[in-house]
Amino acid sequence: MMRRRDADERSYARFAGLHGLPLPVECQHGTPLFLPWHRAFLFFFERAMRDRVPTATLAWWNWATPDEQRGTVPRLFGDQSVGSASNPLFSAPVSQRALQQGEAGGQPAPGPSTVRRPGNSGRRLPRASEVRDLVETRDFRTFNARLEEMHGQVHMWSGGHMQLIPFSGFDPIFWAHHSMVDRLWRLWQIRHNAPGPPRELWDQALPPFPMTVAQTLDVTLLGYDYASSTASQPVA
């Protein structure tokens, strides 16, 4: 996807830009649509991935961190190279149009390719105990607000492009971060046996995606789920 031309609607740059720059900024924050909109976003991004590799799936970054640790970027995203090749999950280019609009609007990107400054916020990643408490939250609106706050803390902790709405979608770790957010919504749904968003929102469309809130409520109807555990062994 990163090799496709930016103008191609299947390109990485096109999806990354839907969240922020280039205009229009489509993402939903601070509203009850935060979770449904980002679930639709992940769904169509993963469809585009599968157009290239049919077995491809998004991975989640489990940023829930033991109390005694401050947290780190997983090596999958933090290593600059894989063998002798550069790691495409370490950094990705920001589209020229996004860079130009950022400059013109007085918010230049931290660089033409994504960078991170993990921990510069002076804070730590969310504690595992905090994440467990979050999933126990009964009221969906409270859960939604607390999860969005936790999500914002991870953006801030990551630093660099990730702490800026206009450019965060270009960082490959963005997708793993939001998969974790989406996973926590799924865990909340299982824990409380409820979909979450209030009924009056279900018919709401989620532009630019051809999907309503109702269509985001059950991940199994979207063809995916989050594994509780895995075990594997190479077959010689």
Partner: protein
């Protein structure tokens, strides 16, 4: 603003002699059109700043994060929610620049406080390559301290607020 120090906010339950189990600070009208920043909440620590330890002993109560839009990249009025005409037939999503409400649980810090009223200090901080530093990106309309009764407690009726404009 980098810091906001409230007037003494009455702890409604304490004033009325009610029991309470949890407390929240609600911050209304939070602007998120600019850079990303964090706001640290302190109770009865009016001189708190970016260097103040994040401990209950130092009055630290919690924080909230503003994932900011980074400015306006459109033409005139692009990020002004009031520039949009809306009526009953408007099916568009809410304008993205509508100010937000933030909620911070302050139970633990409020339990440590003494008296029937507390001062709330908000300190805005942004991360930089040299670590966190004070930020002037924070704008909001009002803070409100709310206590909640637990089982068997009595729920107070009044919730005092403080305007950030005062």
């Amino acid at each position: 603003m980098e810091r906001f120090v409230s007037d003494p906010l009455v702890v409604p339950a304490a004033e009325k002699g009610y029991e309470w189990s949890s407390a929240e600070l609600l911050i209304y009208g939070v602007d998120h059109s600019g850079p990303s920043y964090e706001v640290r909440v302190f109770i009865d620590t009016p001189d708190a700043d970016v260097q103040t330890p994040l401990t209950v002993e130092a009055g630290y109560a919690g924080c909230f994060t503003v994932f900011g839009h980074g400015g306006c990249f459109g033409d005139d009025d692009h990020c002004d929610p009031n520039a949009r005409y809306s009526d009953d037939y408007d099916v568009r999503l809410p304008h993205q620049s509508v100010p937000q409400t933030k909620v911070v649980s302050v139970t633990e810090a409020l339990l440590e406080a003494e008296g029937d009223a507390v001062q709330v200090t908000l300190v805005a901080v942004e991360p930089t390559d040299d670590g966190p530093r004070a930020s002037d990106a924070f704008k909001a309309d009002e803070v409100r301290l709310v206590t909640y009764a637990g089982a068997g407690d009595v729920d107070p009726q009044e919730e005092p607020g403080a305007s950030l404009d005062s």
